[in-house]
Amino acid sequence: MARLRSQMVYRTSFVLNVIGTFFTGLIEFVEIYVLLATAPIFGGLTLPEASLVFALSSVSFGLADMVFGQMDSLPSFIKQGQLESFLTKPLRLVPQMITSTVQLRRLARVLLGVITFAIAVPHAGIAWSPVMVGVVVGALVFGTTIFSALFVLAGGCQFWLINGTEFTNAFVYGGKYVSQLPGPVLLTPIRVFFTFVVPATVTTYLPVLILLDKPGPALLPQVLGWGAPLFAVWAWVLALVVWRAGVRKYTGAGG
């Protein structure tokens, strides 16, 4: 809790950060808006429908980013010798790292997602039922789980990469970008990679297909959306295997 309070002490800085995070997300939405102002249909979806994909992605990614977002700054933990001090304590490494870096300002992105969802939903023509509410809740729960796994995976990769941090941006922030988009716009290799290896489309585009009862393109059938829990398990298996291997490989920075 003390960590969280400390972020509020520099109030102007905090407020600016919140506004900045919100607007960064908003610009990402403007991209989708501009593309849909040019053509009425983008990847088989209308503006309200595509906004739902964006909204689900924003909430899930925002929550994961808030808690696990600093995992890929592992190299700076290593360089400052902070990792050693974590390792000497009788607590697990990942919880220690995340409690030291929870970023409240990322809630701005969650808020943006909620607002987008609230505005888009009445225009999307969804036949609501308890199952559909469950689909939305499930998308957010498993979405947050999957994005969190991506951050841990990125953190694990840093043990090998140190100066090549940007490699992991390809699947963390690439994954975020992909998750905001309707599936059909993705070129086949991207579509396959970001569904079956890094499951970014599974909790954003696919649940929207279920909500709208649309079939989906090649390699991304609607039915795959029901597999979200399995994809979440897969993402965490992948993340923890890499993370554990990384920690075991780590021999200190001579601190």
Binding site: L16, G20, A170
Partner: protein, 264 residues
Amino acid sequence: MSVHLQLIAAEFRRQSTYRLALAAGVFTNGIFGLIRAGVLLAAVAGAGGEAGGYDARTAILYVLWGQALLGAIPMWGWNEVASRVRTGEIAVDLARPIDLQVYWWFRDLGRAAMQFLGRGLPILILGSVVLRVPPPTDPLVWLAGALGLILGLAVNFLGRYALNLISFWTIEMQGFQILYMVVVSLLTGFTVPIHLFPGWLKTIAEWSPFPSMYQYPVDLISGRTTGVDVLPIIGIQLAWLLVLLVGTRVMTHFGTRRLVIQGG
């Protein structure tokens, strides 16, 4: 060798030491390029094969050049001068026999050169092969493109430098930096080409220096803007270069008087 060339060379070498970072940049920019190519191709297809003057081929060229230039002409902020103001090291910089702006400008040229060779060129070559778009054959396109890129980099540097000069007035820079990044990534035409913007947004972009940093040079080098149309584009870039040059000099003049060295 003159001090200016030495500055370029030193920064060039500094940037080239981080080879893994360059490789990582090529990889990540490449993946993002593939995603963005899909996005723009879908938009073009959705609009019936042509949107904002882009067809499938020119859309791919736009993405390809965009990803290739990202290292050399960055869309994000830059805070080296501002952080030196914060630490007070700026006092030493200002006492040097070389003008602060000239010093950073030449270093930036070295940085851009290395980023272009190390990050841009591999992406251009790989991208042309993977996405099957041959390079332009008309030497005039290359000439106009090269000129546009040099001017674009200059305008981009001056924009970033002006941002840093704000630190002479306030050390609370984070907000300005975030604002700059948000505005730049949209209005330069990096995320979506400004030719696809709805009217009002396009007008805002056209009255700002930002398309000169990126959209216009890409239009020139990808052969979208050719013939006599090249001249007004170069003219706009030159005009913004002049405005920003005068602007940053005025800011420097008043800023250095205002500047309080922390902990001096």
